[in-house]
Amino acid sequence: MSTVKKFMYVNRHAPYGSIYALEGLEVVLIGAAFDQDCCMAFIDDGVFQLVKGQDSSASGMKNFSPTYRALGDYEVTRLYVEKESLMERGLTKSDLMELTYEDEDDDWAEKPSIQIVERSELGRLMEEQDVLLNF
């Protein structure tokens, strides 16, 4: 497969209440092996996926939040988080995990993966994609 397409994984579900976030993340990790141009968007309750300090031990469920830290190693380096979605939910950037990647074009400098973007900007980013997958 020589074609390079632009994939956007659109995350609109909170973690734990349903499995869409976890199984969506599994798609992103597999997709990273295909050398496509991919990014993730976190909209609506999707922003809750990135909240730091998740501890699911008492609930009996699997805490899959550490997996987001691995995204940089899979070259998934653009995580667009919607500003308005954070605000409506009483959250700020400081509530989110610090996710980074090493930029090979910049002497492997460590850079933040999360970009806070406005709703209008996200709408425009969507128009640049080839494939939009929703979880």
Partner: protein
């Protein structure tokens, strides 16, 4: 009467519907994604504060922990219970309504 809500109020109407149908002195327990409704300074927190004037609102401890919500982030007056407390609320109220 005990009302439970398991949906995020930013995604679904369950909490709003619960608040508009529950009578005063009701117990309202937020579980699963429903616990997001109790975060302070959100688009829902005003509704929660208003409800707290004549109803009790609880969140399930294991569900806020799973989601990384520290107790300091909850609307003041929301109480935290564990599953034992959930069982007690169900037993001490005469009936239960699950707003799914």
């Amino acid at each position: 009467m005990l009302h439970t809500v398991n949906k995020s109020p930013f995604d679904k109407n369950s909490l709003k519907t619960c608040l508009s149908h529950s009578l005063k002195d009701s117990d309202i327990l937020l579980i699963e994604d429903g616990v997001y409704g109790a975060i302070k300074d959100s688009a829902m927190s005003g509704d929660i504060e208003k409800a707290l004037t004549d109803r009790k609102i609880y969140v399930l401890e294991s569900d806020i922990k799973a989601r990384g919500i520290d107790s300091s982030r909850l609307v003041q007056g929301v109480a935290i219970v564990d599953y034992g407390g959930f069982v007690e609320l169900a037993a001490s109220n005469d009936r239960v309504q699950s707003w799914l």
